[in-house]
């Protein structure tokens, strides 16, 4: 059974880009171990000869013409929910110190 450690959870929090409080790290260490323990019942299931299911519609290669369509949205309307905008661009914090 998967027994996660605090370090595992801290590593996941970095991968997922979510800081966690000490309390959350403790909680998730226990809870994730329990939940992963539950899903490990799949380990013993015989799936010889079966392929994974990636989708259920049976649709393949849904294509459209490569053409510009005007949906009538002004760029400024689409930017109205952006926290920081400068010159019609999304502004972010510096990436490297």
């Amino acid at each position: 059974m998967a027994k996660l450690t605090r370090d595992d959870v801290l590593k996941l929090s970095k991968l997922a880009r979510i800081s966690l409080s000490d309390e959350e790290v403790d909680e998730f260490t226990d809870e994730l171990s329990t939940i992963l323990g539950y899903v490990e019942q799949l380990d013993s299931v015989d799936v010889i000869g079966l392929s994974p299911t990636n989708q259920v519609t049976g649709l393949t290669n849904v294509m459209r013409e490569d053409e510009v369509k005007d949906y009538g949205y002004a760029p400024l309307d689409l930017l109205k929910d952006v926290p920081q905008v400068q010159d019609n661009q999304i502004k972010v914090k510096r990436m490297i110190g």
Partner: protein, 471 residues
């Protein structure tokens, strides 16, 4: 509790000038205000609704002319914020509307409010809403189910003639069961999800919550069909989903009662109601046989690998940069991601992102994600084998009636188990419906009917016939 005529009748009367859209909107807004204590609704779209109603009354047309409805707050709708009941999207004003909303509006329907949900639709009770918990109209000390709990409560309270929900692992059917309403989960791909907050894209569908099967069918009929903005959409049935013919819809039908759903873990009161329903369905001429899908007990484990995996991927877009909450004091981009997401996401979203990140991470992908996808194939094969011998499958929607607010919040795994009878349907992409089926301890019980992929019309007809004999 407000009552409404059948949706098709309301629309006909609006078209004929006998009813006014403006009055219907006021009736709905008044009902919402009076039922405030149930906390079904996050926000009303009153101004826009009133404007639209006035315009519709000038020249009433459409199959849903003047019919008010309530959308789960994960649908992009004009006139109010779209939050998905999450702090990270608080303050978000959609720049465009969901295709489903556009289609309903094109037929004259009017959105009056946004319904509460478990944040990002993660949950079975609405207790994971970052804002508040919705109360069950049948007993306000109990949950309405989730994640479309606000929509189900709205339908049960008659706040509008119908509400919209989304169903990834049972989020329409479970709250329908807990509140005594009708909840329809269409075949995967039948309704466009463009403009709906994505949860687990290989499982998510949109559907109606209503008071009757007929009302649900009409709403589905308006929403169904291909959409160039959602490349997973499939063609609609050449025969429409409304109106339904119910002549002998149960006579001669072969219905399989699912053995795995009738055994251990099923509340005796729920079992009794389902067994009584089976008797009535038999009396209506259907042949009911017991059928086994041996892998069904594995469905929840498959779901709780695939769903968090897809959630962790879909929720990566909430990064604090493009929309939604941002932690302004962060010193660089990475810290902005880390802290915006820490403060913006609630506990369940974080929990699912963490599980998803784990099962997709290098070294674990094959053991968890790929294995789950392969067991999913096994399950789909069993559904196909079952539907080779029966027309429909039948069972309870949930193993229990609505539980008390707070009863399961300390134990995430126990909460997940609420979905044990609904998730398999999403994994297989087949349509299913929950219809009211009596009560146990005065709390509603839901009967679930399941059909093969794309057999939505046949399912709705059988459900309407069953609704008739169960009433």
């Amino acid at each position: 509790m407000a009552t409404w005529e059948p949706i098709s009748v309301i629309a006909e009367k609006v078209r004929g000038g006998e009813l006014k859209a403006v009055d219907l909107v006021e009736q709905s807004l008044k009902a919402i205000e009076e039922a405030e204590d149930y906390r079904a609704v996050i926000a009303v779209t009153a101004d826009r609704a009133r404007e639209r109603a006035k315009a519709i009354d000038v020249k009433p047309k459409g199959r849903l002319a003047g019919v008010p409805f309530i959308a789960k707050d994960n649908f992009l709708v004009f006139g109010a914020e779209t939050t998905a009941a999450s702090n990270i999207l608080k303050g978000f004003n959609a720049p465009y509307q969901s295709t489903a909303i556009e289609k309903l509006e094109a037929e004259g329907a009017i959105c009056v409010a946004k319904a509460n949900l478990d944040a990002f639709a993660h949950g079975s009770s609405t207790e994971n809403s970052d804002f508040f918990t919705t109360k069950n109209p049948a007993d306000p000390t109990r949950v309405p189910g989730g994640s479309s709990g606000g929509s189900a409560a709205a339908a049960a309270l008659g706040l509008a003639p119908f509400a919209l929900g989304t169903d990834t692992g049972g989020s329409i059917r479970l709250p329908a069961s807990f509140t005594g309403t009708v909840g329809y989960k269409p075949t995967y791909g039948l309704v466009s999800r463009s403009g709906v907050v994505a949860m687990a894209s290989s499982l998510d569908v949109i559907g109606p919550l209503a008071r009757t099967v007929e009302d649900a069918a009409l709403v589905l009929d308006v929403m169904a069909g291909k959409d160039e903005l959602d490349s997973t959409t499939i063609d609609r049935d050449p025969i429409n989903y409304f109106p339904l013919t119910i002549n002998d819809s149960l006579a001669g039908k072969r219905i399989g009662i699912i053995k795995e759903y009738m055994g251990e873990g099923l509340q005796p009161g729920v079992k009794q109601q389902i067994e009584q329903a089976v008797q009535k369905i038999k009396q209506a001429g259907a042949e009911v046989v017991e059928i086994s899908l041996p892998s069904l007990p594995l469905a929840l484990a498959v779901y709780y690998i695939l769903c968090p995996a897809e959630v962790s991927s879909n929720l990566s877009r909430y990064d604090g940069q493009r929309y939604g909450y941002t932690y302004a004091e962060a010193k660089d981009l990475d810290e902005s991601y880390m802290l915006s997401r820490e403060k913006g996401f609630g506990k369940e979203a974080k929990r699912r992102i963490m599980i998803g990140t784990y099962v997709l991470s290098s070294g674990y992908y094959d053991a968890y994600y790929k294995k789950a996808q392969t067991v999913r194939t096994k399950l789909i094969n069993e559904f196909n084998e079952a539907f080779a011998t029966v027309d429909l499958l039948l069972g309870p929607t949930a193993p229990e009636v609505a539980f008390k607010i707070g009863e399961n919040t300390e134990d995430p795994l126990k909460m997940y188990l609420t979905d044990i009878m609904t998730v398999a349907v999403n994994l297989a992409g087949v349509p299913a419906i929950s219809i009211p089926c009596g009560t146990s301890d005065n709390l509603p019980v839901g009967l679930q009917l399941i059909a093969p992929q794309r057999a939505d019309r046949a399912l709705l007809e059988a459900a309407k016939a069953a609704e008739g004999v169960l009433a």
